[in-house]
Symmetry: C2
Subunit: 493 residues, 2 copies
């Protein structure tokens, strides 16, 4: 057997255990009663150790060296590249550092849960100093191994190929026009009135509504489910995708669009190349491309006028007896495109969201590269919030740099994926519209042409191409902010 | 570290992976969409291999030898005995035989699914010959390793300590009086009229009813759930017990009592000794003792007059508008104690069930010991059916020896557990009644004294005692058929 084939079999073996981890993780979030948590956490930890042992078996070094001398097809070369990438990610850090960072992150997160509520920056900062220190050590090691800068080496975990040079250009572009566009949109919306939901929207009816929209979006229920969890997510495996939502019975707006978002993630997973199942090359390309699919569904399709019509019609059927003005397409459109300046990223609308991300990107880049000290973050945060959104967070740590879990846990390099996803989504839509009348397809209720395009250009490619190649082949150009700007302008100006 | 401690840590490690297998197995039966089955089966197979590798690691031989020279407390001696038992079970058979038997069983089962419907004994017999041959080989190897007879070595898998000598005595006793008792019961019931459910009983209401009865039975919902599956079962882990049922909307009788049965299994699991969690000594004692708990709930408690009152009252609340005669306690009692001679074991009532089991026991004992040929089974079956239940299965293979999956798969030695469970349950109830007014406790709606007794005498013992010791300590005598006979006579004569 060739070394390449041995590596493939080994990857398949790892994927089986990742499958079990995904299902048990989903269960933990969506099904497990609270009293099961201790035993489950221990079992999941044992599984993690086993997976890590598989990923770092000593013979892999030789197999990779051997496989690189073997003659491979283009597909197999890509498969080898992606396997090797995951292997390097698994072996790059010393165990002691992984352990120390995990402990420091857990400690910081645990305390953060109460410190955030009491706006206790000084308490938080003491724990967080260690997280930052260890994250910098991690970045340093990754930088040495990859030849990238410290921060770029962290970015590479989530967005292989994306660097701060490219982000500076992309986000620098957005910064040019976004604050003014937010102003104009707010001005335009001053006349607009929208009716907020009031009354009771039973969870069972919301679920039925969500499922009808998932059907419209051609979610494959033979290979997936919709359930509930405190934090909505898309989990499971491509053959069995588990998405979740959370229902508040006093409104349906958030959960409904949340389902559209998770369905985008889910269809990407369901559409990954079946022949490469269990191989790294058959997995999703990156966090940003994953987010591009959820945001394509949520922002490009989900907030388009013809899709809003479907939402409104379906809501009418499931919430009979409710105020028909509330459930009108016009009101849905107003609800789903309302712009508001706010402190909290996760509550932000489509237009202000990039400001939250760019702020975090600029700070974490300088923090990890050592250009700023962690103690300077609140001041930096305040000044950028004023600059991008006209809001001050002076003294308000809980709605400032203490609001997210990412930094608390040491996940530096992740934030850019959100806005990269939004930009990819806009660029994909612009390319799609060159050959497909997207609005007409949505209006007809048969969205097949849209999904065929996504399947052909994105989903079926898995990780066979680099992100740059994928985007270039799908859209004819590399990623740029033009389509995102045009999309936002068309919707909000 | 002592060898005993090393063995304990190793057992704990295995238990983590068994936990994952239990949850993913439950998911496969209760949650997974059909399209996920192929990938799941592969992942579960990889997990099985991993667990088997852990169970058979070479250093265990030395650890066991060493541990047996170490000074241990009584509890630790029992813990060592049970670990060693599981290790021996895992290592006793050559891999090739396990593989061959699994393949032959799968082939036979797969064909059986259609052959049973077409009553095709000759087709079935051809595949089954191989299953029987390999099962005899297995029994031979187990017999040599344990010093037991071939069939007793198979019994030992499910019921350690129980032999065909003891079963011949126990079941021989039952055979003396059961056929006559069935006759008398049927005669007595000739006057009885019971109203069968008709109309629609929505699954959601049945579930709510089931949950209210689980609450009465003090199922711990912080450590477990109720869901649905095609074949009801009790799965999960002691910290998170997953029971399932199946709802037919045209009646509620079966599902309701099925939930009572599974709740018995569940409370045993939930009541196992927490200090021994993850250790073989902390697991359920045997299949028969497990069944004793489900049957204690279903037959001893569940069909008692005061419990039937609760069932009827709760059904009234959940099925308002239904015929009140149907939902009366008298009718529930009649429905749940109706005796009928039938061909099918799984449909049998409490009184005729032992006849089905004894018939199978006598045949499989002689088959595995080589006293009869597999081709003789249909004739033997017919003659015993006539003897015990007055029914003939001549030429009717599908309702005869082809009805169960157990033999098809080669699970010889399992059937006796069902009736052993019923006998243990009756003996436990008789002992409990010496100190507790069980009917009064049930009537009061607070069943705590009953569960305290079970917890103290059965659940908290795990596998620390042998089955004989457990029964002797709990009831003051070894297992005998007297209490079972008295229980049946009191209920049916």
């Amino acid at each position: 057997m060739t070394a390449f084939k041995q590596l493939q079999q080994h990857a398949k073996q790892i994927s089986h255990f990742n499958h079990l981890a995904a299902i048990c993780g989903w269960d933990q979030a969506a099904m497990m009663p609270a009293g099961g948590n201790q035993a489950r956490s221990e079992a999941m930890a044992a599984l993690s150790v086993h997976i890590h042992q598989l990923q770092t078996q000593p013979q892999l070094t030789e197999w990779y060296a051997q496989a690189e001398t073997e003659t491979l097809t283009d597909t197999d070369s890509a498969a080898l590249r992606e396997m090797k990438r995951q292997w390097q990610q698994a072996t790059i850090l010393p165990e002691a550092l992984v352990q120390a960072k995990s402990l420091a992150g857990s400690k910081c997160e645990h305390a953060w849960r109460t410190q955030r509520g009491s706006n206790d920056w000084h308490g938080y900062e003491k724990n967080w100093a260690e997280v930052v220190k260890l994250s910098r050590e991690e970045a340093q090691i990754r930088a040495e191994a990859t030849g990238l800068s410290c921060y770029d080496a962290m970015l590479d975990i989530y967005e292989p190929g994306v660097t701060s040079t490219s982000l500076d250009t992309l986000f620098g572009d957005v910064k040019q026009w976004l604050p003014q566009m937010i102003n104009s949109a707010l001005e335009k919306q001053q006349q607009q009135r929208c009716i907020e939901p009031s009354g009771v929207f039973p969870a069972a009816q919301q679920k039925a509504l969500g499922q009808s929209i998932m059907q419209l979006l051609q979610f494959d229920f033979n290979h997936g489910r919709l359930d509930e969890s405190v934090h909505p997510f898309c989990g499971g495996v491509p053959q069995d995708v588990r998405i979740t939502t959370r229902y508040s019975e006093s409104e349906f707006v958030q959960s409904l669009m949340g389902i559209v978002h998770e369905t985008g993630h889910a269809r990407y997973e369901q559409g990954l190349p079946k022949l490469l199942a269990g191989q790294p090359a058959g997995e999703a390309r990156s966090m940003g491309i994953h987010e591009s699919q959820s945001l394509f569904f949520e922002m490009q399709l989900g907030r388009s006028a013809p899709f809003i019509e479907h939402l409104a019609n379906n809501a009418h059927q499931h919430f009979s007896g409710q105020d028909s003005k509330l459930l009108s397409a016009d009101n849905f459109q107003a609800l789903y495109t309302k712009v508001e300046r706010g402190f909290i990223r996760v509550d932000a609308d489509e237009l202000t969201y990039p400001a939250h991300v760019i702020l975090r990107y600029e700070i974490e880049r300088d923090l990890i590269n050592g250009a700023v000290d962690h103690k300077d973050i609140p001041e930096l945060w305040d000044s950028k919030m004023q600059q991008y959104l006209g809001l001050s967070t002076a003294g308000n740590f809980k709605d400032g740099c203490m609001q997210d879990i990412h930094w608390t846990d040491g996940a530096f390099g992740y934030f850019p994926s959100y806005t990269l996803g939004a930009m990819y989504a806009a660029q994909f839509m612009a390319a799609m519209q060159q050959t497909i009348d997207v609005d007409a397809a949505v209006r007809s209720g048969d969205l097949t042409p849209i999904f065929v395009w996504l399947e052909q250009h994105i989903w079926s490619k898995g990780s066979l191409l680099t992100t740059d190649q994928l985007v270039k082949q799908a859209t004819g150009e590399t990623l740029n902010a033009n389509h995102f700007k045009a999309h936002l302008a068309a919707r909000y100006l």
